[in-house]
Amino acid sequence: MTDSVFLAVHYNVIVVLVTASLSGGLCGLIGVLGVMRGYSLVSDALAHATLPGLALGFLLVVAIMPESTLTPPFFWLLLGAGLTASLALLSIQWITRNTPLSSDSAIASVLAFFFAVGVALLGIIQELDAVGQAGIERFLLGNLATTTFDEAVVVTGLACFVFTTFLVLKKEMFALCFDPLFCATQRIEKGAPLMPIFLLLATVSGIQTIGLILLVALLTLPAACGMVLQLSFYRLLVFASLQGASASALGGLISYLYEGLPSGALIVLILSAQFASLVVWRLVTRTHTPPPIEPS
């Protein structure tokens, strides 16, 4: 009896740790690309735009299988999330290219509009009184403690795909990060369309771990820590993915041990404590002072 309970606990812990570290590592890796190309808040908009997708996926599952008493399959929710997030990405691109609005305004308005649609859909779901509706609200702030086996499988699949593609195309990614114009002239744009796809996949894999509100932290903070340390590009990639993975695993473990603490908030606090101490350390050990830049 005790043996089986012990095993079950361990099994859950392993599922939580695998999901957390894989999605954290994935977000850390892709976050480097995002930070270097200036897409940080684009990914914030994408993360917020997954809410209507999650709600639509849930409604679709309820409509197809009204008799089901199970919580809706993770895969369908993630599919919906990916669809609305890509719609948000396309709208941001369209607005910045075809209207006089700046990219700031485009990101802000797309973020707010998609999130509002998501909130309205959540209201509809609450009125339906369907089974398993709490399943969506856990995506807001992340809830690693409730991770199931098939969720871990989906996240693992996503992570394997992105890591392999990234390894194959790492030279192109390197060039794209530093000089997209050069890439265009040399016709090595193979990786260019992959960049937004990577961003989308990282976003979708992270919403279970850290939650869609705080997801942008996992995409910016590991890369930011590496950049404060002034690492070279490939070291930065390794450092950011390791840091994202370890912080997510630690946050997941703490939220598993102390019931009720949302994992997303813990991961963010761990990462930002590291970032703050690195910035302070950098200030103390700095040998020369750069010329002050006027805040605009």
């Binding site: 006089p100 609005l101 802000a108």
Partner: protein, 300 residues
């Protein structure tokens, strides 16, 4: 002689339906006012950072004071908003990251602090939880005893402050918005003005946070103004149009929420977004000609 039913209906309207509508209108007007300048300064996303950082400010103020006191909460939220803007400006000088990354870092840190504090102190019984912080709680603004609710007074005061500030320093604010460097050259006190501007901005956002929540306020700041920006040719015209669009979004959204029973803040944000979408398609030809020389975007 007015029939009883009419008086009863009017009574219900004044107590239950009118206060949220008035609150949303005041909030939308003040957001649109400050939004005009934020859009032109290309700093719309600063709103996002400030509105998220209000949460830890409110929770900490509650922990220190021990009761729900509107003034204490406002001061706490205001200090947190200040801390956010100062930290972003400081990190911009100390680290190699761009503003967007720093906004993302500071915003999530502040919000996560608020979430953990909220979860550890069990404030759920005092009308302060994550759901309300994110989605707003317009329908809770009612006037049971016929007096004006404090939230409406606060929103009115913030609208008055924003309008007064903009009227008094209109010339200086416009110059800083369009040409910061020139304003410095002719010895305008730019730091003092930005301190005042930041104070007004955070006041408006703190007031709006209590009505419509951290994320939906972003839509009230940006969408009506973006729509107005596409039509207007001069700043006063843009401000006027944005106020009209903001009020239209509030009335349409609130009406739809009365009919459907869905969260009114979300429906107001959706109608503001729809106004912006209509403007983007309708004003497209017009703006293409004006912005023919716009540099290509760096977005993906």
């Amino acid at each position: 002689m007015i029939p009883h039913q009419t008086i009863d209906a009017l009574h219900t309207f004044l107590i239950i339906d009118a206060p949220p509508l008035v609150a949303a209108s005041l909030c939308a007007l003040s957001c649109a006012l400050v939004g005009n300048f934020l859009l032109l300064q290309k700093r719309a996303l600063l709103t996002d950072a400030v509105s998220h950082s209000v949460l830890p400010g409110i929770v900490l103020a509650f922990l220190i004071i021990g009761t729900i006191h509107p003034i204490g909460m406002t001061v706490g939220a205001w200090l947190a908003a200040w801390l956010t803007i100062t930290t972003i400006n400081l990190l911009k000088r100390l680290t190699p990251m761009d503003t967007h990354t720093l906004i993302g870092i500071v915003l999530t840190t502040m919000f996560a602090t608020g979430v953990v504090l909220l979860e550890r102190t069990h404030l759920d019984n005092v009308h302060l939880d994550i759901q309300h912080a994110l989605f707003g709680n317009l329908s809770a603004i009612i006037a049971p005893d016929g007096r004006v609710p404090p939230t409406i007074l606060f929103l009115g005061a913030s609208l008055l402050c924003a309008a007064l500030f903009i009227v008094i320093v209109y010339k200086e604010l416009v110059l800083i918005t369009f040409d910061d460097v020139y304003a410095r050259t002719i010895r305008y006190d730019v730091p003092l003005l930005s301190v005042g501007w930041t104070a007004v901005l955070s006041l408006v956002l703190v007031a709006g946070f209590q009505a419509v929540g951290a994320i939906l306020i972003l839509s009230l700041v940006i969408s009506p103004v973006a729509a107005a920006h596409l039509y207007a040719r001069r700043l006063p015209q843009q401000i006027g149009l944005s106020l009209v669009f903001a009020l239209a979004a509030v009335f349409v959204g609130y009406g739809a929420s009365l009919i459907s029973g869905i969260n009114s803040a979300a429906l107001i944000a959706i109608s503001a977004g729809l106004i912006q979408i209509y403007a983007m398609f309708n004003a497209k030809q017009h703006s293409r000609a004006r912005y023919a020389g716009k540099p290509p975007s760096r977005l993906p």
